[in-house]
Symmetry: C2
Subunit: 106 residues, 2 copies
DNA sequence: TTGACACGTCGGATTCCTCCGACGCATCGT
DNA sequence: ACGATGCGTCGGAGGAATCCGACGTGTCAA
């Protein structure tokens, strides 16, 4: 592993986003997951490693298989970051309304 | 420009995220923005190009300067994607509660 | 008009990401 | 015990992202 991924870069890759969506339906083993993509199993395994380091998935070994579970909690960091922009946007709209009211008074 | 960035990859870069945060305080010209980073002006210009293509910023030429404005609306796509995981997570908690209630009955 | 300034983009270097085949380890079924 | 299966990781290749200096264009101030 060459890089230490944060949540933002973990979900910047469409394959990894698809993996997370698949895991919403329930835990899946690696080979099982890999069949949904036109990628080799090592590639999926490496994507899972990135998701693991971002703490978006947890692994549960079952015999020689390894089931991956979704843990969406780290997404809250992204959500919070975006939320601060929503507040900004509402403020902008609010300012605009006040401006229009001022215009009406004239 | 070699790639056509979506919103997810636009915000995957910390410099671009910082630019968006700076723009919350109001529109800024490029040189002005670049001073906040230890990067050359061309580098910032290229990050702005990515943000522009993701429609997260709008440009307003003022004479020889170019002011960049924030437009957080495309972030809604990311927010919606994350929201679907929040619903998943609430469902999981709900299921868990029911399971515990069943256990209590025994 | 002329020099200074603000900016975008190009060419090329460097670093990072993504992918695969190969290998090794643990586990399963027989 | 042994071959098959599931998986992680390594080495290296290919491509993409990031960065900078250099250059061109348009604008300003004098």
């Amino acid at each position: 592993m060459v890089f230490e991924p944060d949540v933002f870069s973990a979900i910047s890759n469409p394959v990894r986003r698809d993996i997370l969506v698949l895991l919403k339906k329930g835990p899946r083993a690696v080979n099982d997951l890999a069949q949904g993509f036109e990628l080799s199993r090592p590639a999926i395994s490496e994507h899972l490693q990135v998701l693991r380091k971002a703490r978006l998935v947890k692994e549960e070994p079952r015999g020689r298989e390894r089931y991956y579970h979704l843990d969406p909690r780290p997404l809250a960091e992204v959500e919070a970051w975006i939320e601060s922009f929503n507040r900004y946007w509402k403020q902008r709209l609010h300012d605009l309304e006040e401006l229009l009211e001022e215009e009406d008074k004239k």
